[in-house]
């Protein structure tokens, strides 16, 4: 049996395990990743099986984690580092942006930086400050980094394999509120390319584009809209840098309408980039302006308000209606 039903967290765990078995150069590093198996148990059991030399509990220092991962990569290792929560990546942001992203270019392509930075991100788990943010645009904006986010267990598994195999730095955003969502994983499948978008639901009236945690909400919105006779297509971007604009374009040219959905603030977010590109590419196919649904220009609110802040079914459907009204 190569097909298993796994929660996303476990799919990533299995993927890390396979990568470590296949390639002795793969290392796992981060705070609490060893004995505890990470605060979300994504690295559960790995230290027991691969030892402290390969599953490394690091000092509590994010700049140190990424900075030393860069050095290890320069020495031929393939570190997969865990940042415990989205809001704690910023002490490492300097290393990621000023060093990790640029070193390959500065060395005239002579050195490779196969570092994967895993970041559980996004809201919806009722957490305190700094535990619910969606900073992906801050990374996608930086040339030299690749940025991906799976939305289901199979992608979680395969995209991790591909991220580790990539010779480029990959920021791997894990939708933490979906960690416990189960899905089928075929560990012997032949996966599609890492940066290719995927159509989740076929439709003809409007395209919803999302990634990570919002894919599920968009699929639900499409199902709800279908009951009202609207045919919504849902595209899971999977990768935020690069973006598979061809796939988005093809879908939009079929439906004539586009709504982009993400948890991150709309202002300067991924939706802005997609709206601009699709307006350029598909101007004459659009029946309505590209709309965006996302977070507000406000700090992620306290837990008791997060349902108001996070785009839910209602807000997505509202945008669908507004688009269809043009």
């Amino acid at each position: 049996m190569t097909v298993q039903k796994l929660p996303i967290a476990k799919a990533i765990n299995e993927s890390l395990r396979k990568a470590m078995e296949t390639d002795p150069k793969v290392l796992v590093m981060g705070e609490d990743v060893g004995k505890l198996g990470g605060v979300f148990r994504v690295t559960d059991g790995l230290q027991k099986d691969f030892g402290e030399g390969r599953v490394i509990d690091t000092p509590l220092a994010e700049s140190g984690i990424v900075g030393t991962a860069i050095g290890l990569a320069l020495r031929g290792y393939r570190p997969v580092v865990e940042i415990q929560f989205d809001g704690f990546v910023f002490p490492a942001y300097d290393q990621i942006v000023t060093q990790l992203a640029k070193m390959h270019a500065r060395a005239l392509g002579k050195i490779k930086l196969p570092v994967v930075v895993r970041i559980p991100y996004g809201g919806g788990i009722g957490a305190v400050e700094h535990h619910s943010e969606s900073p992906e645009a801050l990374f996608a904006h930086v040339p030299g980094l690749k940025v991906v986010s799976p939305s289901n267990a199979s992608d979680a598994y395969w995209m991790m394999q591909q991220a580790i195999q990539s010779d480029d730095p990959v920021i791997y955003f894990e939708p933490k509120r979906r960690y416990w969502d189960k899905g089928e994983v075929d560990t012997e499948a032949i996966p599609g390319p890492l940066h290719k978008a995927r159509t989740v639901v076929e439709g003809s009236d409007l395209t919803l584009v999302a990634y990570g945690p919002m894919v599920k909400v968009c699929a639900e919105a499409a199902a709800a809209a279908a009951e009202e006779g609207k045919s919504i297509e849902v595209v899971d971007l999977r990768s935020m840098s690069p973006i598979d604009f061809d796939a988005v374009q093809a879908s939009v040219e079929k439906t004539g309408r586009l709504v982009v959905v993400h948890e991150a603030p709309v202002f300067y977010g991924a939706g802005a980039e997609i709206a601009a590109r699709i307006s350029e590419r598909s101007f004459y196919h659009l029946e309505a302006p590209v709309l965006r649904v996302g977070g507000y220009h406000a700090p992620y609110p306290p837990a008791r308000l997060e349902e108001e802040y996070l785009p839910g079914l209602d807000r997505v459907l509202d945008a669908v209606d507004r688009s269809l009204a043009y």
Partner: protein, 383 residues
């Protein structure tokens, strides 16, 4: 509340020690201790306190009430009233001892676990619970008690404390600043940078590290290979390790470090050697990484028990005192429980409040859109 009883008092680090109990033993000079786990007064060559029985009872009361508050919060989390709680169980002496060493005009920069220090500052304990309930990100005005907001990003506040202290020095004031952080935090670049800045600018700041032996699942050995207090030496200021379960020693050492800061002699690192008896937070499961025997060994060093033994043995407190404190604890627990249950969810529009001091056009626009959207549901026109 008698929170002022010792807070307002001038530091009294007497050069000639005047302890009452005869034949005091001398403790390990590397670990400042004035009260043994058995509740015996001991001497240290450099530090002492000279407290009245009333003051001693005050410290005991602070610790008991802080523990009661903490236990109530843990229970409230279990009952679903709080989303999370970071317990200080076992760290009462470190927090009350250092907190009671402060003067009103001193400024505190805490982590997220300094409930006992907040108590010493006169912050209403129910204010601490808003962020753990998820109704706000802070819950108090830092300037009303000179107690800054809790900081979740590890180590950040040590730099804020240092900058604040630099400002105090520029102003020519004689107050001092204290920054709390954990043993895990000592690995952060920000903490190293705060050591550098405070030393270079001779800032009147005390770094108070509560080494509770763990940073979630990682023991202190995963952060450092030398005792933490020795770090200070490399930056050019003194470091001292104090028995963090000994409230008297924590008081004496912190007072001395604050006085040094006030005299313009710069920073001190205090490492309070203590133990986190509970889980890291209510989300954590220490059975995954920690042996029960370890906890049991530390339970024998309980900070509250040892002071109780001392108070009782010296005749500084009687049954009536302990009984009335018990009653007071229950009243506090009840007050906290009721306050949390009555804590309303924030108004939705709070999402858009206090983002900018001067306002921002985009926020105004989004606030209006949000209000209109919410109103559409109220009108029954929403989906």
């Amino acid at each position: 509340m008698t929170v002022e009883s010792t807070a307002a008092r001038k530091p009294r680090r007497s050069s000639k020690r005047t302890g009452s109990s005869a034949g005091k033993a001398v403790a390990d000079p590397q670990l400042v201790q004035l009260l043994t786990p058995e509740g015996q007064r001991v001497e240290h060559p450099d530090y002492d306190v000279d407290l009245t029985p009333e003051e001693l009872r005050g410290l005991y009361r602070d610790m008991v009430l802080t523990r009661r508050f903490d236990a109530e919060a843990t229970a409230l989390q279990r009952q679903g009233e709080l989303g999370l709680w970071a317990s200080l169980l076992g760290q009462e002496a470190a927090q009350i001892g250092s907190g009671r060493a402060l003067r009103d005009d001193d400024y505190v920069f805490p982590t997220y676990r300094e409930h006992g220090v907040a108590w010493c500052r006169g912050v209403d304990p129910t204010n601490l619970l808003g962020m753990f309930r998820g109704v706000n990100h802070g819950g108090w005005d830092p300037n009303s008690n000179n107690f800054h907001l809790y900081t979740i990003v590890i180590g950040s506040q040590t730099l804020h404390a240092t900058g604040y202290a630099m400002g105090v020095a520029k102003d020519g004031a004689d107050s001092a600043v204290i920054a709390y952080f954990g043993d895990g935090a000592s690995s952060q670049g920000d903490v190293a940078e705060s050591f550098t800045f405070s030393a270079v600018y001779n800032a009147p700041v005390v770094f108070f590290c509560q080494n509770n032996q763990w940073a979630i699942s990682e023991p202190t050995e995963k952060q450092t290979r030398v005792p933490l207090y020795q770090r200070a030496q490399g930056y050019g200021f003194p470091g001292v390790r104090v028995d963090g379960n000994d409230v008297l020693a924590c008081l004496a050492v912190t007072r001395s470090a604050l006085e040094r800061a006030r005299r313009g002699e710069g920073p001190t690192l205090v490492e309070a050697f203590t133990y986190r008896m509970g889980a890291h937070t209510t989300s954590d499961d220490p059975t995954k990484y920690r042996a029960d025997e370890e906890r049991e060994a530390w339970e024998a060093k309980d900070p509250i028990l040892r002071l109780k033994t001392y108070l009782a043995n010296e005749g500084h407190a009687d049954e009536a005192f302990f009984a009335s404190l018990e009653e007071e604890s229950e009243t506090l627990g009840k007050r906290v429980r009721e306050a949390v249950r009555a804590m309303p969810d924030p108004d939705r529009m709070a999402i858009f409040e206090n983002i900018y001091a001067d306002g921002h056009a985009l926020v105004d626009e989004e606030r209006a859109q949000f209000a209109a959207y919410q109103a559409s549901f109220a009108d029954g026109e929403g989906k």
